[in-house]
């Protein structure tokens, strides 16, 4: 489907770009190489190299001065010395604060991902099965919060759950004493589910909308109950969508800072917050870098799983 009419001749246009091509050819560059090189160089400098820098600095020690860490390479009488400190990593294992923060981040991320899946799956399925004219509106309603400021949504939620917030005022109408929701782990769970729900719904929807209705009808005709049809057909076929959605929630949730900072209490331990405090409150850059590397190790497997799930979806599309 294209917007071009194949039968009318293309409108005459001045060759505005031929100069560009000649100039490129003159310096021995093909357009193709440039197209690849520009983003590749940018990503190398501003994404890959920084990760290497983080690793390097995680092997230094904090010191007073600028920059606030010991140099990796020192030059003494003509001999270059490389000094590596493993203290930061040893501290990650020996200090119970870090261990507890890691375990608690993983626990919070896992549980909230599961809750998001339980809420998001029926929503995605309902949208995929909705009549055509409804579907776009519903999809738009999912996408709109995704575009709306993350910070503001967390803030909106905090106004909702406060001691004298909307929920407690509503409960008060029935004479129920106010619940303490803010500054608890519960608030963090609600916050993650609330803010990441669109990330779960969209990949699930993309998968479920392609589900062949004939399979479901065949199953029903053969006498299977809806629950059975769902468990033996819909659920297995939507596996790539489930994996993609879960990873899109789990990975950022592990490193979440804003939600525990605004909704969680002082006892809510999350690794993103620990990293933030090491950096901003303690100005211990090497320690923060070591925390980042350790966090990276936790998310690397989920990132690969996500990549594989997305590749599988794309291959399926190409196959069709």
């Amino acid at each position: 489907m294209s917007t071009f009419d194949a039968h009318s001749p293309p409108p005459p246009r001045p060759r505005a770009w031929s100069g560009v091509e000649r100039a490129l050819a003159a310096v021995g560059l093909s357009g193709k190489a440039l197209v690849i090189a520009a983003p590749a160089i940018w990503l190398t400098i501003f994404f890959l190299v920084p990760l290497a820098v983080v690793f390097g600095i995680s092997l230094t020690m904090k010191q007073f001065g600028r920059p606030p860490y010991t140099p990796l390479l020192t030059n003494e009488d003509g001999t270059v010395q490389l000094t590596l400190h493993l203290n930061n990593y040893l501290r990650l294992f020996s200090d119970s604060l870090y261990v507890a923060a890691y375990l608690s981040s993983i626990k919070i991320a896992l549980i909230s991902t599961a809750i998001t899946l339980l809420i998001g799956y029926p929503m995605a399925y309902a949208i995929a099965r909705a009549p055509d004219r409804w579907r776009n509106i519903l999809l738009m309603l999912v996408i709109l919060p995704f575009w709306t400021s993350f910070l503001l949504r967390v803030y909106a939620l905090s106004g909702f759950m406060r001691g004298n917030g909307v929920i407690n005022q509503f409960l008060g109408l029935f004479g129920i004493p106010p619940l303490v929701m803010m500054q608890t782990d519960f608030a963090v769970y609600v916050g993650i589910v609330y803010t990441y729900l669109p990330f779960m719904i969209l990949p699930l929807y993309t998968n479920l909308v392609k589900l062949d209705g004939a399979l479901l009808e065949a199953s029903a005709d053969l006498g299977a109950r809806p629950v059975r049809t769902f468990l033996s057909i819909t659920l297995p076929l939507s596996r790539p969508g489930i994996i993609a959605g879960c990873m899109l929630v789990f990975i950022p949730a592990i490193g979440e800072f804003v939600i525990p900072a605004l909704l969680g209490g002082p006892s809510t331990l999350m690794i993103g917050r620990v990293l933030w405090d090491e950096f901003f409150a303690n100005t211990n850059w090497p320690r923060a870098a070591a925390v980042a590397i350790a966090m990276l190790i936790v998310v690397v497997v989920p990132i690969m799983l996500l990549q594989r799930a997305q590749d599988a979806e794309q291959d399926k599309e190409r196959g069709n």
Binding site: M1, I36, V53, S149, L152, A156, V166
Partner: protein, 269 residues
């Protein structure tokens, strides 16, 4: 197929959960009382207060500049990257490029922010650039993560694109650069608009990365909001939030209309 009651009810509850807090935030931004959650009468005085606050206005202007530049850089680089990934099927490092460009999508913000800050500090120590941190470093950081989103949007449009048009133009003797600007670009224009808008809003929204790479005197709007919100819920933040949400809703509406016009049969978003 029999339609059950479960799905509609679940979807309704889910949407209520998504929207109730935002609706209550908007409603209470028109509240007269200083107490955010006790309704005492309609008033727009908090909007007046926001629009007269030089700190908020300054931060908003800074954020808008950053978002404009970052979205534009991300659009150019992201489009090039999408073309490379979709049109050039085989080249060395393709897998690496595909992985590297999508990694910032899910990378926790604290890692992205910290790693870029450490890079800028190390670069300043070695080559003297960038001197200090502020507008420029935030723009670079935002371009990098926004680029990933542009790639996703443009890539999916390029994949759907009928390649025979480009091939026909090539057969008629047009050079690749001319084909791109005369044929490909006009067709993928709606995707470019939505990619730019998405990048713009993401940049406008970012708190964590900007906090790491900003310098003294360059507080973006989310940074100002965060410092206010940490002190508790306040009605002027509600008013500011309502203004921002209004802008975003307008932007999304425009982007949707652009896409619907472009291909009315298969409007997906």
């Amino acid at each position: 197929m029999r339609r059950g009651w479960f799905l509609p009810i679940a979807a309704t509850l889910g949407f209520a959960f998504l929207y109730a807090p935002i609706v209550s935030l908007v409603v209470f931004s028109f509240n007269e009382s200083d107490l955010v959650t006790v309704w005492s009468g309609f008033s727009t005085k908090w909007y007046g207060k926001v629009l007269a606050d030089p700190q908020i206005l300054g931060a908003a202007w800074l954020s808008a500049q950053i978002a404009f530049c970052a979205a534009s850089i991300a659009l150019v680089l992201g489009t090039l990257c999408a073309v490379a990934l979709v049109r050039f099927r085989k080249f060395r490092g393709r897998t690496l490029l595909a992985g590297t460009v999508s990694a910032p999508l899910v990378m926790p913000d604290v890692i992205t922010g910290l790693s870029l800050l450490l890079l800028f500090v190390a670069m300043e120590a070695i080559i003297g650039w960038p001197s200090g941190r502020g507008l420029l470093t935030i723009i670079i950081a935002h371009s990098t993560f926004c680029m990933a989103y542009v790639v996703v949007v443009v890539q999916s449009r390029l994949r759907d694109l009928d390649m025979s048009l480009e091939e026909a133009a090539m057969d008629l003797g047009a050079t690749p650069v001319r084909v791109f600007f005369d044929i490909t670009l006009p067709i993928i224009a709606p995707a470019l608009v939505s990619g730019w808008l998405l990048a713009f809003t993401l940049s406008l929204d970012d708190l964590v990365i900007a906090s790491f790479v900003s310098g003294p005197g360059s507080s973006t709007l989310p940074m100002v909001i965060f410092s206010k919100v940490k002190l508790g819920v306040s009605p002027d933040v509600n008013a500011l939030a309502t203004i921002i949400i209004g802008f975003v809703a307008l932007g999304v509406a425009i982007a949707t209309i652009v896409q619907l016009r472009a291909h009315p049969k298969r409007a997906k978003a």
